[in-house]
Symmetry: C3
Subunit: 162 residues, 3 copies
């Protein structure tokens, strides 16, 4: 019975990590976001078109350490000053597809909705997270957050993480 | 171990309250909706723009008791007779951010999608619920449902609760 | 306590079945999808307009066995060769509304988002699943997946299951 409870808790805690990810971006608290990653954590955005075409490369974002992720965030904080819209993440359909030692391979769907100041609410990106998540000292962190956006072409310029 | 199971159950039951909230609105069973609140329960809609600007007031809806909520619903039931579209709530990213006695402070994201009779499906409001939820006699009720809509300007006139 | 844990597990496993349903369609692995149904499993799409109008019939899709579902899928696999867009399911607000022997009556909301190759992401269908799900030999399968689409009129021709 303990195993089963542990399983439910792990799923819940991993969902929380993903929710915190979305929440920090939505709340415009980007400076806290890099801490969701391990020191050598990767954050990658690729498109489903490229993946399906077997293309290696053509990444949208490709950050291979927490330091690179932090650098990105700092540059965004400046741009962000003139931010004219809100983001909102909807993360669902999470399932753990593999567990190996303390690394969980987790898939989930995301929808990012943007609301601009004229009141238009539109879906700007849908896709999938294929994450590798490490449990270390009772805390879950992204070893790799691999974002597969269903498309490259967005209605507006998106410079924020997804 | 019991604590942990209780925690999972509380999260599940609070999620259910939110789902019931969305479900009653979507199913057009508004007359049952006020019963999700305590007698002194508040239902407030504010916009994120106003909140971020530090504005106090400018509420979209501001009901401070179950009776006020009920009055609102009764007036809607009349209008609703000519209703020409369907609503559908998507609630996700729920997390309990604070617990104090039997009151839980809970945040979640909502997306309300509207389908009209010509077949257009559009997002009419995205935002966040910041709720205070009371556990009383084994039942969860809203002490306060604070709706933060990402925008005030909607593509259509929305008179229903969000 | 065991009862309560069983309850949480059943909810989780039923959610997984729904996620697998959405995932197989989104991943374009339709050939595996019929196996989510029992041999006499039904897959029905009806519109909320028709249901609300008390119309019996006028179904969009009406398959009453796994074999019929499989036939449908085979015909889709041919059409699908020229597929020019991606689907993405968002399933939330799941609740078990009734349990009778090993059959669970479950409602949930779905949103299907389509991304075309020009980069437009749009909601093509929102609605509700009203499913009957059987637990047999430790596995959950659809005895009936009843899809209630909020509208019949879609922005694009949809031939895929919802």
């Amino acid at each position: 019975m303990t195993n089963v409870i542990d399983e439910l808790l792990v799923e819940r805690d991993i969902m929380r990590l993903n929710q915190t990810h979305g929440g920090l971006i939505d709340d415009d608290r980007l400076e806290e976001w890099p801490d969701l990653f391990t020191d050598d954590g990767k954050y990658i955005i690729q498109t489903r078109e490229n993946l399906d075409a077997g293309l290696n490369g053509g990444y949208w974002m490709y950050h291979t350490s927490k330091q690179m992720i932090r650098d990105r965030v700092i540059s965004l904080l400046h741009v962000n000053h003139y931010n004219k819209h809100y983001y909102r993440h909807f993360i669902s359909n999470q399932r753990i597809v593999e567990t190996s030692n303390d690394v969980y391979s987790v898939r989930s769907n995301f929808l990012v909705v943007q609301t601009d100041f004229e009141g238009k609410t539109e879906s700007i990106s849908a896709g999938e997270y294929k994450d590798k998540i490490l449990l270390h000292n009772g805390e879950f962190k992204f070893v790799e957050k691999f974002v597969i956006a269903d498309t490259f072409h967005l209605p507006t310029m998106v410079i924020m993480p997804l």
